[in-house]
């Protein structure tokens, strides 16, 4: 009887340790983060389609979008155990990089971009947003955690 009790206690401790360890690795699903990424994907691709026109005509829109992107990055950065998603945002919006941040900077610098380049960059940026959305949607819903 004592052995059985000890065994059950050991199993409980093991279960607790496994559960604690498994929950501490990556953040849980956030509907807000998911919506933010989907909304910003649509807004970014829409604005990018105007990059064949002079930058000055869309400067305000670009400034607004950059602020929203920065907010999404800061939101990701502030969530616990969310380094991977924050890292994705950082790559996407980096002005020295070659995705959305770099694209907007190049538009500003060169005033207008070629049609094929804009179209190809839209595909890359769309795929980039999908990696963020894909990771977020793959996260475990808090209600599923034991």
């Amino acid at each position: 009887m004592i052995i059985k009790a000890k065994l059950l206690v050991s199993i409980s401790i093991l279960t607790f340790c496994l559960a604690t360890w498994s929950c501490s690795n990556i953040s849980v699903f956030s509907p807000e983060a998911y919506k933010q990424a989907v909304d910003l994907k649509v807004e970014s691709l829409e604005l990018m389609s105007f990059a064949t026109s002079p930058y000055a005509d869309y400067e305000e829109n670009v400034t607004y979008l950059k602020t929203e992107l920065r907010k999404a990055y800061e939101f990701a950065l502030g969530r616990p155990n969310n380094e991977l998603s924050a890292g994705q945002w950082e790559i996407l919006i980096n002005e020295e990089g070659n995705l959305l941040g770099g694209f907007l900077k190049r538009w500003e610098t060169e005033d207008a971009l070629s049609e094929m380049f804009v179209s190809e960059m839209q595909t890359l940026v769309s795929d980039a947003f999908d990696t963020i959305i894909g990771l977020e949607s793959g996260k475990i819903d808090p209600s599923e955690l034991k």
């Binding site: 690795n25 890292g87 070629s114 475990i140």
Partner: protein, 108 residues
């Protein structure tokens, strides 16, 4: 009365079934994602090379796109790393269920 050895045997069998079922599913998923990325990259490179040759893309555009693909690959890698962590969490939760289930089957 069930012994600790009975419990260990039950856990081993239950874990084996659980692992077979889950690892097969995850392996297929990872291979599918990886192959799709490689295929898409090949198609993109072909289109960009044609664009460069026809003058639709400048040398700067072409280089920017190539570097963009590299950045995208980094983002994809972060996604895959995150999904792997999530799978481990799910597997750990599954193992907890198996261990608890086996204990209940054996002792209660």
């Amino acid at each position: 009365m069930p012994t600790f050895n009975d419990f260990v045997t039950t856990v081993k069998n239950d874990l084996l079934d659980f692992t077979k079922e889950n690892l097969e599913e995850y392996k297929d998923e990872i291979l599918k994602d990886g192959n799709a990325f490689v295929e898409k990259t090949k198609e993109d490179l072909q289109r960009w090379t044609e664009g460069l040759a026809s003058g639709a893309l400048s040398q700067t555009d072409f280089e920017f796109l190539l570097k963009g693909k590299k950045d995208l690959a980094k983002m994809e890698a972060l996604k895959q790393l995150g999904l792997s962590k999530i799978r481990i969490t799910k597997i750990t939760n599954g193992i907890i269920d198996v261990v608890v289930g086996s204990a209940i089957k054996t002792f209660l």
